[in-house]
């Protein structure tokens, strides 16, 4: 029974061992990728079969419930999508590709364990497992032009990451000092009694910092543009989407500590949300590198997600979960186009999209749907997500915040639209047509469908998220 509870993680762990042995030999990248995909799908199946189970493992430090299992499945599906859209790993040397997949899988193991962790040290270990694997993935890119830009990004990433970790650890030490426990279950009631003391607010705020770093929210955002630019397209696709899902899961767990009356935390998160939205959107307006632009847009989206957290209510958390799931899909759809369009894995500037609607109508449509969904245009999921976030934030009395979010929607539309504009308007172009494989076609169409269906029929996913959130409050 216990084995079944831990099955998704076990499969991933065993799989990573297999990959480790492969890396010691002379296997090709394609083989390693196929194995990783099989492991991922096996783990998804295991996750689905243990979907409605509950239980706790490892001296109650590790909890299996609907909340954790649904996040695990989302994370694993995200990984599967990343593996499929980055089928070629164009910009990574073939001899290190097996290692690439190994560390990618390790990072996912960290994330998967993170959403189940309910004890501070376990959280810490899981988070670092995922982060350090990511730090290694970033420099795994061919050196272009001898600038070693990928190394620079990796160093930046690791330094910012270490600082964020340090802040989080410091916060955890406060929490332990105040309450004498590291278990979230015991922390919750004890922190509630201390909610008036500044120490408790500081502790929660600093622990939040570690996950705001993962989510790339202001003021822990400064790694984003350089890492997005320096890492290969496939790596960026992963960094930009999957870890953010886990970050939201943990942010909900931590903010739940401040529920229902953590006024200090609410004020702090409100300010961070406004700063994230404005900073991300305003800076994104002037970007020309596509990944950098998406990086800044990601900072803005982190701000939107915080709208749900400031409510400190179940319905608000549900809106955040719904939004981040939508963001995962629409972001991956955008990166799918980037990965396929980039011939040798080089970075794309916005103008490279020019004439895409003639060169590959399907990819152009995918880009249109992805961008307009991020901009929050109905009928796509980005609209429904923003709508429910704004409704919940307004319900909790944050009218200013909602108006700021609305204004930001109007600002953001400009750069998303400029991408669509260039995709759909080109005059003379001598670039060849793009031929895309069957997998890409299927992936594109299914992503477009998911973005639309999640947008117009959100009922099921909201119900699921509501049940999941109830298990942790």
């Amino acid at each position: 029974m216990d084995l079944m509870l831990f099955a998704p993680e076990l499969i991933l762990l065993l799989g990573s061992l297999v990959l480790f042995f492969i890396t010691t030999g002379q296997a090709s990248g394609n083989k390693a990728r196929a194995i990783t995909l099989i492991i991922t799908f096996a783990s998804i199946v295991a996750g689905l079969s243990s979907f409605c189970m509950t239980g706790s493992l490892f001296f109650d430090a590790y909890k299996i419930d609907l909340f954790s299992q649904s996040f695990k499945i989302i994370i694993l599906m995200g990984l599967a999508a990343v593996l499929m859209l980055g089928s070629e790993l164009k910009d990574t040397a073939d001899e290190i590709r097996p290692e690439y997949y190994l560390f990618l899988l390790m990072s996912v193991i960290g994330l998967v364990m993170l959403v189940s962790s309910v004890e501070l040290l376990t959280i810490f270990i899981a988070l670092e497992l995922s982060s350090y694997s990511l730090y290694i993935l970033v420099p795994m890119r061919d050196d272009r032009g001898g600038l070693r830009i990928q190394m620079e990004s990796a160093i930046k990433y690791i330094i910012f990451g270490a600082v964020a970790t340090g802040i989080m650890l410091f916060g955890m030490s406060y929490m332990f000092g105040l309450t004498g426990t590291t278990y979230l279950v015991d922390l919750l009631p004890r922190l509630h009694q201390l909610m008036d003391s500044p120490a408790a607010i500081f502790a929660i705020a600093m622990v939040l910092g570690g996950f705001l770093f993962k989510l790339a929210a202001f003021p822990f955002h400064s790694w984003v543009p350089d890492v997005y630019q320096g890492a290969s397209n496939e790596t960026t696709a992963f960094i930009a989407s999957v870890p953010k899902v886990a970050a939201v899961a943990l942010l909900i767990r931590i903010t739940a500590l401040a529920t229902p009356d953590g006024q200090g935390i609410v004020t702090l998160l409100t300010i961070l949300a406004i700063c994230s939205m404005f900073y991300g959107n305003l800076v994104a307006l002037v970007q020309t590198d596509l990944k950098r632009m998406l990086g800044f847009s990601g900072i803005a989206h982190a701000g939107y997600v915080l709208l749900g957290l400031v409510t400190l209510r179940e319905t608000g958390y549900v809106a955040s979960i719904y939004y981040i799931i939508g963001y995962l899909v629409m972001n991956l759809a955008g990166f799918l186009v980037i990965c396929k369009l980039s011939q040798k894995g080089e970075n794309l500037v916005v103008n490279d999209l020019s004439g895409l609607h003639k060169r590959s109508p399907l990819l152009a449509l995918t880009m249109l749907v992805s961008m307009l969904s991020m901009a929050g245009i109905p009928p796509f999921v980005g609209f429904m997500g923003k709508f429910s976030l704004m409704t919940e934030a307004y319900r909790a009395g944050h009218m200013t915040l909602v108006i700021m979010a609305a204004i930001n929607t109007a600002i953001a539309i400009y750069y998303y639209l400029s991408i669509v504009r260039i995709t759909y308007s080109s005059t003379t172009d001598d670039r060849p047509n793009l031929s895309i494989g069957l997998t890409t076609k299927v992936l594109s169409i299914s992503m477009i469908l998911i973005i639309i269906l999640l947008g117009i029929l959100p009922e099921k996913i909201i119900q699921l998220a509501t049940q999941a959130v109830r298990t942790i409050l």
Binding site: T315, I377, T391, R395, A406, I413, L417, E459, I462
Partner: protein, 507 residues
Amino acid sequence: MEFLILNDMGFPILSALLFLPLVGALVVLCLPGENLAKYTTLLITIAIAGLSLPLYTKFDSTTAKYQFGEHHSWISSLNINYTLGVDGISLLLILMTTLIMPLCVLGSWRYIDKRVKEFMICLLLMEASMLGVFMSLDFVLFYILWEAMLIPMYLLILVWGGPRKIYAATKFFLYTLAGSVLLLVAIIALYLTQGTFSIPDLMGQQYSMTFQILVFIAFFLAFAIKVPMFPFHTWLPAAHVEAPTAGSVILASILLKMGTYGFLRFCLPITPDATIYFMPYILILSVVGILYGGFTALAQQDMKKLIAYSSVGHMGFVTLGIFVLNQSGIEGAILQMINHGVTTGALFFCVGMVYERNHSRELDKAAGLGKYMPIYVTFLTFFSLSSLAFPGTNSFVGEFMILVGSFTDHKIISAFAIPGAVLAAAYMFRMLQRVVWGRPKNPDQSGMSDLNIREIVTLSPLLYFVFWIGLSPEPFLKVLHVSVTHLISQVGVATSNVAAVSKLIIP
């Protein structure tokens, strides 16, 4: 649900109207070949037009309730429903939309020569969302369709537009979207006060004055940009000029009406006190729009721009009629919305037909066509006369009713609208004179062929409606009457005491 008369026709006619274009778009997507796409789209739009006719014949004009209603739960956690219904205010707009769309397909038959299939899909998506906007009685459904419409319209301008299409498309999208983001906030605010997104349920509730004013401003920004009213009109000429013919026609005939429809459906019944508070300023803006549009149209060399600016003036008449808040004014305004859709749509088709022949919209290059294109100038003359509200044509009835309404309550401000009618005659006759006769030295037009059967078929239904409404408006007015009376009673709760206030500001 007492506001809704559920549909008893045996099949959900409104849903059918909403989804048939979407299904059609899917079908066209799967078809091979461009000609097949054209014929299929034409067939689908005609089928939709035919399907919409029972709306008129079965419409019960003795009740102000929403008819042919459909109500299904959609997103229960937020109490969002899929509610459709038609009343006197939306009925004619829906019928006009279904009438215009097949003509748009016919009008683009030769004009669109690349990516025909995608063009037709965009047209069908537009039709679905436009019909949905007029039918939906749930705010979220309304907003989704209202915004979703931007995407196909944006693509229509961006992909098939003229030389400055990028500028025009971007401006159109940014303007309209920026206007509607606060509309969303207002919708959320209304939802949280009443716990429902149902539009009829939100009407006639007691809201505080501050709340009403804030909601009204959010509404007003969204709708005034769409109309467009005077200071927000700058996207219109750009979009009209650059859009392909069908795009211009859809923009002028249907899209602009959504703004005025929004005023009637939301501003007046949901925020009546704020409406009365802001009424004087909006009347002034309307009159400024009438005069500004007229003067600017007088100076245009580009025929599409001329008609675009004339739209600003005509829509000024419509908002004038709406905000005088009396029976004659509002009925005239609704009728004028239909008239403007018919007449201006036809004029854009006319300009497009010349453009197909000589690839220019310049007035000077189209000079002296009368000798070589007698059928064309006949049509053009009638539509131009209709546009300047010549007695016997449709616009005369509408403008006359609006002016009757506005003279009843606001004599001086109405007096300023009269020169607008004169200006309309001036710019229309200027265009007509140039196109039909021209100057002593005209460009050589001998190569121009007259209208073919397809083009005559495109214009004839519109001409028919010009005279039908002009000579016998009763069938159109009778469906409006009860709904408008009901609307005025919704606003009228406070009319008596606040009308006095408005008299202080404008006589």
